[in-house]
Amino acid sequence: MRPELVARAQSGDREAFDALAAALYDPLYAVGRRILRDGHAAEDAVQEALIRAWRDLRSLREPERFEAWMHRLLVRACYDQARRRRPLEIRISPIDAGRSDPSDDIAVVANRDELERAFLKLSVEQRAVLVLTHYAGMPAADVGHALGIPVGTVHSRLHYAIRTMRTALANASPDDLAVREFGR
């Protein structure tokens, strides 16, 4: 991200900010969509992050870290969205398939459903760590910066997130189909 563009936006240049926002909108949306598992909520979160970015842009001391800062704002907006939205019970149609054969398309779909359900059992903070690490490919130090937590906490959250998902998958039964879309 061009620091001079950030500097211009910091001085109140809305066109510069629009250019920054346009360049980052899709990556931010993709991250938000994966944390929240909902397109509309992700749109709202990105919008909130962009509004906060414009409002507080002058507080950013290092323009070269604009992108990491935007991720921090986005994750915070995702936290807000997750807490704001009422937990919604949804039901997913059961797919009766053997889970042992990965070459079976139906089994793959079933695995995706199970992964989705297991992922939604995580706290939104754990989801954020997983998405930034395994989807955005950010190193632990950058994830820590984006989330405002120490690197050690990043590792521990990752550990517990993976363990929670594995436990959820191990205990999944065909009747266990009601999941929460948002929140813990």
């Binding site: 629009d18 994966r34 749109e43 919008q47 409002r55 507080d56 992964l115 992922f119 395994h134 998902m165």
Partner: protein
């Protein structure tokens, strides 16, 4: 599945799904961001020091010298002595180019007209026991005001005085009890020959037009609903006003021709706690601006209504002062002013209100908002040249403040001991006061 395999599985699964957001989402986000102003960078000064300097300061705090403190104290004492003993008299409101135009205001139980510095002050309400809410006629020759029989009365006579007190008072309301609300329910016609006002008739508030000051008074709304806060359009063709049905739930903003024909509804709401403010016309008589509360516990908003095409919300976070006072346009129509619930006085430009695509009736406000701070309360109006605002003082509206737009920190309270509303003479060349 091994842990490594599981991590890879999660990563693969996370990579599935959309990589880009909808285009309208970006447009919506940018439009929303445009309604927000940047916060200044000086809130926490240390954060904005160059990093090496900030770190140096943290690591090696400078030793505080007793001599330096002593010098600083001496300088402060010197400055205080100059401020108290040697200050020159303040200039007479040099920032207001129209300071030589008189202002009508309430002081105690009477209406006075004076210059801004308090000079040439004279009473125009005669021997009326209690007078409030003065309003200069657009031609600047007369002042209308309300005269309740006592301070607790909910209505009163509408009287008209010459601005210089040279002629006897005339009663424009012809025996009707003019509504005395939070905000005056009186409006001059643009040519200054007629007055529209809300008055109680048979227990219902209706809009009347006084055809000629002291002439016939004609109702232009019926008795099926309470109507008040009339506002004459600058071109004189219509009068806008608000209506509350007798059920107390259905509320409307309407316009009607001065003869009572061609009644049209601008906006409707259905809620016991909903409300409209006094509607304010743009100088070209096109859009209206007003404060609106949609009810159901929501916050009052300031909106521009393009009349029958779309509305655009300039501010959604609560209106302060007297919400009924509404959102006045500047004399050139480029700006609007209102008092917010949390951020003091706000000035909005009216350059970018456009219909929102695909949303009938909904508009998008993309103009700029400028915070002037908590420099006024209760009500706010534009000074005739549009370069300043005047309104109730922030100490409970016990006086009147004038706020220059180019430097709101130079806001000054007028030296007149006033209360209630005031009115600035508009069009005439500076008159000779008695």
């Amino acid at each position: 599945m091994t842990p490594r395999t599981f991590d890879a599985t999660v990563a693969d699964w996370l990579r599935e799904g959309p990589e880009s957001g909808p285009r309208h989402g970006l447009d919506r986000a940018l439009a929303a961001a445009r309604r927000v102003e940047q916060r200044p960078a000086w809130v926490f000064p240390r954060r904005y020091l160059p990093r090496p300097l900030a770190e140096l300061e943290l690591r090696n705090p400078a030793p505080v010298s007793a001599a330096a403190v002593l010098v600083l104290l001496l300088l402060l004492l010197l400055a205080l002595a100059i401020a108290v003993g040697g200050a020159r008299p303040r200039a007479r409101l040099p920032f207001v180019p129209v300071a030589d135009r008189p202002i009508a205001f309430q002081e105690g139980p009477a209406i006075f007209v004076a210059r801004l510095d308090g000079s040439e002050r004279h009473k125009i309400s005669g021997d009326v026991a209690y007078a409030i809410s003065p309003l200069f006629s657009p031609d600047g020759t007369r002042v209308a005001f309300l005269a309740p029989s006592n301070p607790g009365e909910t209505g009163g006579r509408l009287l008209v005085a010459a601005f210089d007190g040279s002629t006897p008072l005339v009663e424009a309301s012809r025996g009707l009890s003019v509504v005395r609300g939070q905000v005056p329910s009186v409006s001059w016609s643009p040519d200054g020959t007629r007055l529209a006002f809300a008055a109680s008739s048979g227990g219902v508030s209706r809009i009347f037009v006084a055809a000629g000051i002291g002439g016939d008074v004609v109702p232009i709304t019926d008795d099926t609903a309470n109507a008040d806060l009339p506002t004459w359009s600058p071109d004189g063709t219509v009068i806008a006003f608000r209506v509350t049905d007798l059920d107390g739930v259905h509320r409307h903003l309407r316009i009607v021709q001065p003869d009572g024909t061609a009644l049209e509804t601008i906006n409707d709401m259905i809620s016991a706690d909903a409300s409209f403010s006094k509607p304010r016309f743009a100088p070209d008589s096109g859009p209206l601006a007003y404060a609106v509360n949609y009810g159901f516990g929501t916050r009052t908003r300031a909106i521009i209504d393009a009349r029958f095409t779309h509305t655009a919300e300039m501010w959604t976070d609560g209106i302060g002062g007297f919400p009924d006072a509404g959102v006045p346009f500047s004399p050139d129509g480029k700006y609007l002013a209102f008092i917010t619930a949390t951020d003091g006085v706000m000035v909005a430009d009216d350059q970018e209100s456009t219909p929102a695509a695909g949303l009938p009736g909904a508009g998008q406000y993309t103009g700029q908002l400028r915070r002037l701070g908590k420099v006024a309360d209760c009500w706010i109006e534009w000074v005739p040249d549009g370069k300043a605002l005047y309104g109730g003082s922030p100490d409970g509206c016990a006086g009147i403040v004038v706020i220059p737009l180019d430097d709101p920190t130079a806001a000054r309270r007028l030296p007149t001991a006033t209360s209630g509303f005031a009115s600035w003479q508009l069009l005439l060349p500076p008159p000779n006061l008695p």
